[in-house]
């Protein structure tokens, strides 16, 4: 696998929602980069801004009330934020495609799923109507939908939840994108299908050198799929590093809590471990560390000052005072 060239680089991305109640800082200074053929997993608390980050990359934030207020998104060194509509259009669905989180509402309710897949093929790959349809059926078959010719002619409401999700996947993969953003692509899939999909993704990655941003809650999937993992919390990345090292040695207290919360397949537990407390509202984050309120290690400084990312060895960063000299300590 060649990993030299950086395909996508996100620098200090800030996406805010301007509403009557104030400004919701859904994404608040996110930076990461993605190399060719690499898979970046994004995990994090629900509502921490994972989806908004990915929507921002394709400039799909609903405006108003949302707006990308700062940052750069470089695709092969071209800033997506500065592109005009025509350039943007050529990126979307072609160079970067996206699997949306909620397949039911993200699919057009009145068009057959086959058509929805075929249309981007016609557009980006200049296929004829017939060829595109054939390819669409092929894609449906690829993602494990039985009787694809028949399913292609159905509307989304006639499909099961998992099938819809696979339709989204097929749609995103149809044009062999350079970058695939997959927002919880397998949440509704049973394990056999999930395994199959992951297999396909890996295969495509190998074959085309596709890079993937993989947003999921399933740490098992992350472990299996991703080279790198970024953990987000309250609009920021709080820990980043190679997948194996993060699971073996989580640094941030939040990451730790996450791993502890997973129900284990073996051995019985009555109650699962949870992280106490709730996520701060994106409308008013605390002044200090955003996790401080729920953190058992929180020190005085954590409540007054924002921690910066700390470099912790090769490709490993964490946003926590624990790893700085400023931390006073606390058991």
């Amino acid at each position: 696998m060649t990993m030299e060239t950086t395909v996508l680089e996100v620098k200090n991305l800030k996406t805010h929602f301007f509403t009557e109640e104030g400004i919701a800082k859904a994404v608040d200074g996110v930076s990461f980069h993605l190399k060719k053929g690499e898979t970046l997993g994004i995990v994090g608390e629900s509502g921490c801004g994972k989806s908004m980050t990915s929507l921002s990359i394709l400039r799909l934030i609903p405006t108003p009330p949302g707006k990308i207020v700062d940052g750069e998104i470089l695709l092969n060194n071209e800033n997506i934020i500065a592109m005009d509509n025509e350039q943007l259009r050529k990126v979307r669905g072609n160079k970067i495609s996206m699997i949306f989180q909620e397949p039911m509402t993200s699919l057009n309710p009145v068009l057959t799923v086959g058509e929805q897949i075929a249309e981007s093929l016609r557009l980006h790959q200049n296929l004829s109507r017939k060829e595109a349809w054939r390819k669409a059926v092929e894609m449906l078959e690829l993602v494990g939908i039985p009787a694809p010719e028949k399913r292609a002619k159905q509307e989304p409401f006639q499909l099961s939840g998992g099938m819809r999700q696979r339709v989204m996947i097929a749609m995103a993969l149809a044009c062999n994108p350079e970058v695939l953003i997959a927002d919880e692509p397998t949440t509704a899939l049973d394990v056999t299908i999930q395994a199959q999909i992951l297999e396909i993704l890996k295969e495509l990655q190998q074959k085309l050198g596709m890079s993937i941003i993989f947003i999921t809650h399933d740490l098992g999937v992350v472990a299996e799929m991703c080279d790198k993992v970024a953990v987000m919390y309250a609009g920021q990345i709080i820990e980043e590093g190679a997948a194996d090292s993060i699971f073996e040695e989580p640094l941030h207290p939040y990451t730790n809590g996450l791993i502890d919360s997973i129900p284990k397949l073996h051995g019985d537990q009555e109650d699962l471990a949870t992280i106490e407390g709730s996520v701060p509202s994106p409308y008013h984050y605390p002044i200090g560390c955003r996790f401080a309120e729920r953190c058992q290690f929180a020190a005085a400084i954590c409540r007054t000052k924002q921690p910066d990312l700390v470099q912790m060895g090769e490709g490993r960063t964490v946003r926590c005072f624990k790893y700085t000299s400023e931390w006073g300590g606390n058991a």
Binding site: L55, L58, L60, P62, N85, R89, K90, V91, R92, G93, N94, S97, M98, F100, E102, T105, S106, L107, N108, P109, V110, L111, E119, S120, L123, H124, E155, F157, Q158, M168, M171
Partner: protein, 306 residues
């Protein structure tokens, strides 16, 4: 679907009864007497009575109605009181004219209305939108009569491009079709705009954008299709009412249509003609609305027609 259509066709029977009965009763209630109108000035009381007798207007009401319905079932809509012609013949003269005019008008309505509505919806609150809105509102509050006369004077009298009125050549269709189409276009435009705005913020439009689709494709294929139900409904209503005839424009452009026929018949209290006319008009609406319902299903499979 076939079952659905069959069911609908069966429903025509009660519609026929309902429509004829209501018209019949109302015509009895309405003041005015076809015999007096027909006898004209100076006819004596006896003559009027005699006329009434001959027209069968003295029979008890239920018998009159029964006779009529018996005829309808056999495809006989009776004779006009006014000129004695077969009602069916009178309708057959006018129906093709009305249909032709309605079809052209509705085409204009659809093209202008959808076009304007889409322009409005793409950039809501732009100057374009505002312009379209104003024109549409003028279109709706300017009585079609005025528009008709205005067009007639501009294009026929001043420019001499088109004939003033009548129904002899394809050229004659243009002005009345535009006049009739314009009013509908106004409603369609407004309806399209608002429906589109409902749709345009939904997630699947975001998906379409994410696919890199061109703007017009997003609009026409993804947004419009989902916004079409109310639009189809108004187009259907419009089309139905055009087929039922539009008296004013038929008068202005001397189009020999159903609407004028019905109104003339009402004015002369020509019951069989009114019955026949309204009967045909309601059949038209039954069919148009059947078609509209089928279109609902075509554009949104989820809609359940049964």
């Amino acid at each position: 679907m076939t079952l659905f259509i069959l069911k609908r066709l069966v429903q025509i029977v009660p519609v026929i009864f309902g429509v004829t009965l209501v018209v019949f009763l109302i015509m009895q209630m309405v003041p005015g007497d076809s015999a007096i109108v027909l006898a004209g000035e100076g006819a004596s009381q006896e003559t009027i009575e005699e006329l009434r007798e001959n027209l069968g207007l003295n029979l008890p009401l239920h018998i009159q109605y029964w006779e009529y319905i018996k005829g309808v079932v056999q495809g006989d809509l009776g004779h006009s009181i006014k000129n004695g012609n077969q009602v069916l013949d009178e309708i057959i003269v006018r129906l093709p004219i009305t249909i032709e005019l309605a079809v052209y008008s509705i085409l204009i309505t659809i093209v202008l209305g959808l076009g304007a509505g889409i322009i409005s919806a793409i950039r809501p609150y732009s100057w374009m939108d505002f312009g379209v809105t104003i024109i549409a509102l003028l279109g709706i509050s300017l009585p079609s009569f005025f528009l008709g006369i205005l067009l007639m004077y501009s294009f026929s009298i001043n420019l001499g491009w088109l004939p003033v009125a009548g129904w002899d050549s394809p050229m004659h269709i243009i002005l009345p079709a535009i006049t009739l189409g314009a009013g509908g276009a106004a409603i369609v435009a407004r309806m399209t705009r608002s429906s589109m705005l409902e749709v345009i913020n939904q997630d699947f439009i975001r998906t379409a954008k994410a696919k890199g689709l061109k703007g017009y494709m997003i609009i026409f294929k993804h947004a419009l299709r989902n916004a079409l139900i109310p639009v189809i409904t108004v187009v259907g209503l419009q089309f139905g009412s055009l087929l039922g005839g539009t008296v004013l424009i038929e008068s202005v452009f001397a189009v020999n249509g159903l609407g004028r026929m019905i109104v003339d018949a009402i004015r002369t209290r020509d019951l069989p003609m009114v019955q026949g006319g309204v009967l045909v008009a309601s059949m038209i609406f039954v069919f148009v609305n059947l078609f509209v319902d089928i279109l609902y299903k075509v554009f949104n499979k989820r809609i359940d027609l049964n």
